[in-house]
Structures are given as C-alpha cells and as structure tokens.
Symmetry: C2
Subunit: 350 residues, 2 copies
C-alpha cells in the first residue's frame, strides 16, 4: 500500500545509522563487512521491503546482467527449443534474457540490434534473417568486445563465434538416403541462397548426386521461403507435368508436410510413388501419417552450446579481443515411413 517511496539502500543506511557503502557491501556479501552487520542490514532490507535497482547498479558498473537473443521468430519449433534452453541456462547464472524477433525482416533486425545495444546487454546471441547478407549492424558489439554468438543461421565471412548444424552433411545424408531408397529423380526445395545454411545443404545435395552419377538439373531445385503456401505453389509446378519426381528433399518440415498433403490430394502415394524427406525433425513430422523422415539437428544441444559460448565469452576480460570458435553440432537422419521402401503393397502396416 505504501506507494510513496521506493526504498533504497540510503533508507537502510539511515535507519541503521550506517553508511551507504557499508550497506551496499553488506548486501553483496563483501568480505570485510562483519557478519553481524550483514545480518542487521539484510534484516532491515527485508523489513523495509527493499528491492535492488538493477538499472542503477547496471549504470554504475556498466553491466546489465541481461543478455539478448535475437531470432527470426520464437513460435517455430527449432528456435523455440533453442530459446528455451538458452533461457534456462542463463537464468541459472543470474542473467535475464531479452528475446526479440525480427520476423525475418532485415530492417527489424537492424533496429532491434540497436535497441539491444542501447539496453547495454552483456552479450548477444543471434540467428539472422533469411535475407541478412550485410552484418555491419553487429559491428558495435564487436568493436566494444561485447560477446556475440551466432547460431543456426550464421554469417559468412564475418569473423565471429558461431554455433551451427552440419548442413553440408545434412544435405549429403538426406540425398544419399533418398538415392539408396531407389530415387533417381530428386527435387530439392531449398530456402533462399542468401542464407548460407541452404547453400551448404544444396552443396551436400549436389555432391550426393554426383557421387551417384545423377545429373543435377536446375529445374529440379526451388529456392524460396519455406512456408506452407510456397510449398503448395512449388507442388503445382512440380506436378504440372510428367515425369513426376520420385523423391523430394524439403529443407524444412513445414514444406515436407505441405507436400505430403498435396500428394494426398492428387493421389500420389507416399512413399510408394514418391519419397519425401524433411529437415529439423519437427514434432509434427513424427505424428503425421506417414511419418516423415527428417534430420534431427539437436536443438537442445545447440542451445546448450550457445549458452556455454556466451557464458564463456562473458567470463573473459572485456579487453582481450575474443577468440572466435566455430562449433559444429551434429545431425542425425531420422528414418520414417515417408521414405521407406515398400516390399509389398499393404495400405496400412501394423
């Protein structure tokens, strides 16, 4: 009810006839404050309902105990999982996390980077927009030696700490798998090439084809934002004319699911007529029928690594220029029915 004044350490000091410095140190368990004083101070703090003002402290010692997490969107499975893990881990270490979403807009990303800097966050973790090719808005962080970690969607040619999945291997593995399952004419629906991770998956895709002497046809690769609508449109092109492909490698599961639905509509059987593989191992991939083969990117592990990298960098003294590690999180192909070879044609197994 007392909405008059917020209590400060000054109030505690006055109440106790001590100096503010003593109170401050007592609250922070500074070694040369006597146990008795600490006791008294803390008791009075509780009694007065004192709450530390993080902004004041932050201003004074130039650290906000807050870190920033900047992602395209938080409602998608993959970034959400990473966010969860990073959050929890940093929370344990006494940091707050400001989560921001760029909504895949470059302008928003730039604007948010600036506000986050203004908030004087102690570190920043970023997964960029699909269209970010200029990274200079992050320079302020580098120039001031503020820990900066990129994950998943990471920059090319920008010297910085990176945690990413093995996208080349992912693309390679998926394609090899499809080929092993008997596919000879494979479509790849990729994200835009402005995003390096798709470049690498495409590279893996090409390499696998080459290994098996299958020609790479430009017309069988689509570069687009991986939304449901776009997937649907791509399908209309793909199935506008024969021959139909016998395998599709979709660079995310949303796309894979949309394709599956499209196939159901036009009576193309999966996996008999067409095998589909997605990416990221979204929970929906497991639940849909038939289950969709996908690539697990171990988001929890990636989150852990990001958090560790941040904590690590924050530990180093601000002066020393950062050493920039590049960590690779493994991937694993999760085989499901959508890419199975059916020996005899039963409509429903089990």
């Amino acid at each position: 009810m007392s909405k008059r004044t917020e209590k400060t350490i000054v109030d505690i000091a006055e109440e106790l006839g001590l100096s503010v410095s003593t109170v401050s140190r007592a609250l922070n368990d500074h070694p040369n404050i006597s146990a008795r004083t600490k006791e008294k101070v803390k008791k009075m703090a509780r009694k007065l309902g004192y709450r530390p003002n993080a902004m004041a402290a932050g201003l004074r010692n130039n650290r906000s105990k807050t870190i920033g997490l900047l992602v395209p969107r938080i409602s998608m499975f993959f970034p959400a999982t990473i966010g969860t893990v990073v959050q929890n881990k940093l929370q344990e270490h006494g940091y707050n996390v400001i989560i921001c979403q760029s909504n895949d807009s470059y302008e928003q990303e730039v604007a948010l980077t600036n506000t986050l800097y203004s908030a004087r966050i102690d570190a920043l973790a970023v997964s960029t927009t699909l269209y970010t090719t200029d990274f200079s808005h992050f320079d302020i962080f580098k120039d001031n030696n503020i820990p900066l970690v990129f994950f998943d969607r990471v920059p090319k040619n920008y010297d910085v700490t990176i945690v990413k999945g093995d996208d080349y291997l992912g693309g390679l593995t998926v394609t090899q798998h499809l080929i092993e399952q008997g596919c000879k004419d494979i479509v790849h629906i990729s994200g835009p090439l402005t995003c390096s991770l798709y470049v690498e998956r495409v590279a893996g895709f090409k390499h696998a084809l080459q290994q098996h002497k299958i020609p790479f046809k430009k017309s069988r690769v689509f570069y687009q934002e991986l939304t449901r609508d776009n997937a649907w449109q791509a399908c209309e092109k793909i199935f506008a004319q024969q021959p139909y492909p016998d395998g599709i490698f979709a660079a995310n599961d949303t796309t894979a699911i949309a394709i599956l639905e499209y196939c159901r509509k036009i009576n193309v059987r999966v996996p008999e007529d067409l095998k589909i593989v997605g990416y990221s191992n979204d929970p929906r991939a497991e639940i849909i029928h038939p289950g969709i083969t996908s690539v697990d990117q171990f988001p929890a592990m990636m989150g852990e690594r990001v958090a560790e990298a941040l904590l690590d960098l924050m530990q180093q003294p601000r002066q020393t220029p950062q050493r920039h590690a590049a960590e690779m999180v493994p991937i694993q192909l999760i085989k499901r029915a959508s890419s199975e070879v059916k020996v005899n044609k039963r409509k429903k197994s089990q």
Copy 2:
C-alpha cells in the same frame, strides 16, 4: 576498433560547444530546440557513433521501456503464439520484452518475479505455474501501481487485470459435443485443480453431464500434469478393465494425442469405439490421423488483448489505482474425425 570510450552526450556537447541539456533535448526532439541545432546535434551523434544508454535514461526517469513476460514455458504452442504476438505488438511501441520461463516451478516463478521487479520493468504479463495458489509475490507490482496483467492461467481471488479463455464454456461445449455424438461414458483428463482454468473446465464438464442426466463418476476424472507420460499412465488405468469409456475429453492436445497413440496400440478404434476431444487446437491436432477435435482458444487474439491491456495500463498515470478489467476471449470447437459419428465403416474417407 576504437574500443576506448563509449561516446556520451557529453562528448557531443563538448564537440559542439553546447550544453548537455541542449544535446539531450535535441536528441529527443524537444520543441524548444531550434531545428538547426537539432540537425547539428544529430549529425554529430552519428559521426561519433553515439548510442544512447538506456540504463542511464531509465534510472533517471524511472522507466525502463522494458516489459516482462513470465510464462511456464515458451516452447509450447499456445504460450509461444501469445508470446510472439505480445512481443511484436510491444516492439512496435518501442518496448523491449524480457521473456522468462518458470518451467512450472513455483520457486522459479517467485525468483523471476523478483528479478523482473529489480530490472524495473514497466509492466508485467504473467501466466502462472500450475501450482501457484499464493500470489503474494506479485504484490510489489500492485503496491507500486506497475501494470500487471494475467492471462490464460490466472489467479482466483486476486484483484488484477485478467485476460482468459472461456474455460467453463469450453468444458461445457466439448462435453455436450461428445454426448451429442452418442457418448454415454465419458472420461475427463484434467489438469490439477490448483489451476483455476481446469476447475472451470471440470465445472463445464459436470454441467453438461447433468443437463443430459448422465451421472458424474469420480473415478472417471483424472487430475494430473498434462504430459505425454502421465497420459499414458492414465490410459493404462482406464483400459485396465472393462467397460471402456466411449469418450475422452482431454484438457490438452498433448494428452489427446498420447491417448490416440495408446488406442492404436491396443486396437481401440477412434472414433468408432472411442471418441476423443482435446483442447487448445495445437497444430498437431490437425495433422495427426484421425484429426483430433479440439477447442481453439484464439491465442493470437489473446496475445493482442494482453498487449493492449498492458499498453492501456501504461498510459494511465502511475498514481491512479488501476481499474481491473477481466476480459474473456472466446473459444470455438473445431470438429475433426476423432469425434465423428461413422455411418458405415469405411477405413479411409475421400
């Protein structure tokens, strides 16, 4: 590269031979600064690479331009969607959002509430833990007239602004639907009753039974955390002995999905032998086969409302004690195959 000093408005002032106050006002577009001066100041600011220090400003005028969002977890569909919307909307208005997750732990919730207060956030939106029945840790916010909004999982008997779904109606509607579809022996898997929203769904459930003169049996209601594992265990009890129920109302979709899987395992046909309805209209409910009837809670709308409520409250002068509205977001039953009445038994429709 110049990692020496952060530029401040003092630097700008010196460089230009102006006073700090003028510079400050110029940067904030204060009316009685001449256009020419503003121009000069902003140009110099750019030239020096000046970045405002939000903590200093915040300390001075006691507002951080940051709001807090405290939820059980951000990786679940429903809170994630709300978070996304709230985030974007507040971002538009120049606020940062600190998202915190309590992981459904009461202790964490209390701790986080305190750190958020220490960060001097300008407003707080909360969806509580399943087990929060004591809300006194939020008193600080009320006592200091800091906007406080609860959503989805909201307190009972705690005077505060609330945005929630119509859970009573939800429970009622689902149950009526099941009865209309011919169910006579319905199991309800509810969350713990420490959370008022489940209390209301149960009330709706009971009322519908009563309307149709179906007796309410305690043994047919389960109160538990709505995880996959718990759902599985409940199933083992439910199907340990005959008679099996002919309808199950699960209070979330994770549970509904788990039940569906269990049924597949033990060869109970859905919807022929058993009809299932979930809650929240998770994307998975649509994708699984058969599709699961569920209740859409319009999370985007709820997010909008929460954001509006926050902005609204922040507009009011701090002195006036808040008026506490309680908004009800509508619900809608989304009918799918899991509760369909099958006229003749075709295994696959269309």
